[in-house]
């Protein structure tokens, strides 16, 4: 009864022997001391219950759990954090990908964090700046994060991964190739998805195709475009180098790529753009030339961003289950550290989503 917090308590709570505890909530929020006193055990035992220690008698556990529930007790994350020397926060680190991608990732991560006591802290950064890794390091150390999720393109940066390893924080890298130990990777099989796009267009009958890639320095570019070329190759179609345009994942670069490709002879009957923004640019270029989509030109994008459904005709594209990926990433960070590491990285394969921008070419 010398615990300071007991001063705030009601008389009933102070004299556990006199009357049954009222189900009413305590004034102010209950603490571990309150639960300990009410259940007649030490706070260390309550702590064991909180932390799922096996070293608690089942009956004791039940009693403590019941009281915690009755009083709506949840441990204070700050106090736990101080004692644990780490917080109950997960960081999401990214450098300016699509808004929808970020948001879906956040929803997914939060799906996994719900009711876990963990929360999500967002940290956008500019990976083109020399000192961005310092910024991430400060963020992680200052907040003593429990773990971080890295999404492309920061996920592709080995220097960042090295810095995080030095700090000793756990992380998950979401990328299109296994860049790290399986336990800290979540692979999106962009190559396979690119192949699927190729197979689909070939099966429609297209033989003259164009490809608009992303910037060469991104792994996703290599995988998406490479998979597309693989797929065509397997089906006996060789895409000449001058039917490949390196875009910048922007709308304008999509316009430029399409202008270039549509001026070629023979003109491609189908274009695969490695993201939807560039595919929207292809629409613009095609329409300006009076080419009908999909009548004169089939277009396939990548990402299934909001614009894909809002273009007319609606864009055939590759759908990546981003929310699900976010959920898995957070789950990996929450998983028991003692669990055995997986032998192979978890892998997700995006799927082709056929809409209205693709059909057989003119005979």
């Amino acid at each position: 009864m010398t615990e300071s917090s007991s001063r705030r308590r009601t008389a009933a709570a102070r004299n556990p022997g006199t009357a049954p505890e009222p189900p009413a909530v305590l004034p102010g929020k209950a603490t571990i001391n309150d639960i300990a006193r009410l259940s007649g055990v030490s706070k260390k035992t309550v702590s064991r219950v909180i932390n799922n220690s096996p070293l608690v008698h089942p009956e004791t556990r039940e009693k403590v759990l019941a009281l915690m529930k009755q009083y709506g007790y949840t441990p204070d994350p700050q106090a736990r954090g101080l004692a644990f020397r780490r917080s109950f926060l997960i960081g999401l680190i990214y450098d300016n990908p699509t808004a929808q991608y970020i948001v879906n990732m956040q929803y997914g991560a939060l799906d996994a964090l719900r009711d876990s006591g963990y929360e999500l802290v967002v940290h956008p950064c500019d990976s083109s700046r020399e000192d961005y890794i310092d910024g991430v390091r400060r963020f992680v150390q200052q907040q003593k994060l429990h773990g971080v999720i890295l999404i492309p393109r920061v996920s592709e940066d080995e220097q960042l991964a090295t810095a995080l390893r030095e700090i000793g924080v756990r992380y998950v890298r979401i990328a299109s190739v296994p860049l790290d130990a399986p336990a800290s990777m979540l692979v999106t099989n962009d190559r396979q998805a690119g192949t699927e796009a190729a197979n689909y267009l070939e099966s429609l009958g297209h033989r003259t195709l164009g490809l608009i890639t992303g910037p060469r320095r991104y792994r996703s570019t290599i995988e998406r475009g490479g998979g597309f070329l693989d797929g065509l190759g397997e089906r006996g179609i060789e895409l000449p180098a001058d039917y490949i345009f390196e875009g910048g994942y922007t709308f304008d670069s999509g316009v430029a790529g399409a202008e270039y490709l549509l001026a070629k002879s023979p003109r491609p009957t189908a274009i695969f753009a490695c993201n939807d923004e560039m595919a929207a640019g292809v629409y613009k270029a095609a329409m300006r030339r009076g080419l009908a989509i999909p009548g004169d030109l089939s277009v396939v994008g990548y990402d299934d961003s909001p614009v894909a459904a809002q273009l007319w005709p609606a864009l055939t594209t590759i759908h990546s289950p981003t929310r699900d990926i976010g959920r898995q990433a957070a789950q990996i960070l929450l998983a028991d550290e003692a669990a055995p590491a997986p032998l192979a990285p978890r892998t997700v394969t995006p799927q082709l989503l056929v809409r209205d921008s693709s059909q057989r070419p003119h005979p």
Copy 2:
């Protein structure tokens, strides 16, 4: 020297008299005790420096500040939080607005939080659920948030605001009308922007116009659409009720609204859609009918979402400085509580952004 942390320190650090302190970092992170010991004051004085107390001798302050800098010391937010009984986290609470809107808001808020020691925690929720306020309450109380930012539509919910007031957490509501005390409001003058759209279309010469609104239950709908009607009225144009369609802020509702309006006689020569998604739907309906934009139909949207620039022709729309709004919202939450409350709410007026989807009507 009986502070436990001193055990970890180097001999040099333990004997401040013997040699000048090395600029080298301490093993592990420096704590308030280290800084206190090194500067020869009590940790309470260091605490005063941290908290900008005026009750510190300038020389003392300088010395402490210098040591803090030399050792890269930053106070532990968890420890401060535990002692302060609140955290250094700002919550962003929202219910499924546009991805770009959320992301811009996050960027803006983080602009303001940079180097402040505060971080941003995101909390999407589903305001159509009965118990969503409980979820927010738990989030705020559990994390002992320093403040929260509410964006539409949760910002329009009086019950939520009441619950937050009861908890005693500060909040900023971003909404199109002043729903609360000026100190906790950030108003986007959607009405004025709607009027601007009307003035613009009238000045181009349009006399037969159509309006596609959002759901009636949103304040933004009332303001955007109302402002548009105001603007037309001021210029002597009365929009008949059957030239107004209540949409749902979705692409499909935009299609439906345009199908309806374009079937009318006389056919409107211009349509104002209260968000860009619905405007994209107008494009689809117009194109299906073989109507050229802007030749046969001018279209104005609202939001300046990514799709606006990616449509063809590029969409004339209303641009709201969302990132700036996010920055201001966070600044309000960080501002000194002792500062005098503003007499009028801060107000931001979105601006018309003319692109290629609007021109004079056919003669």
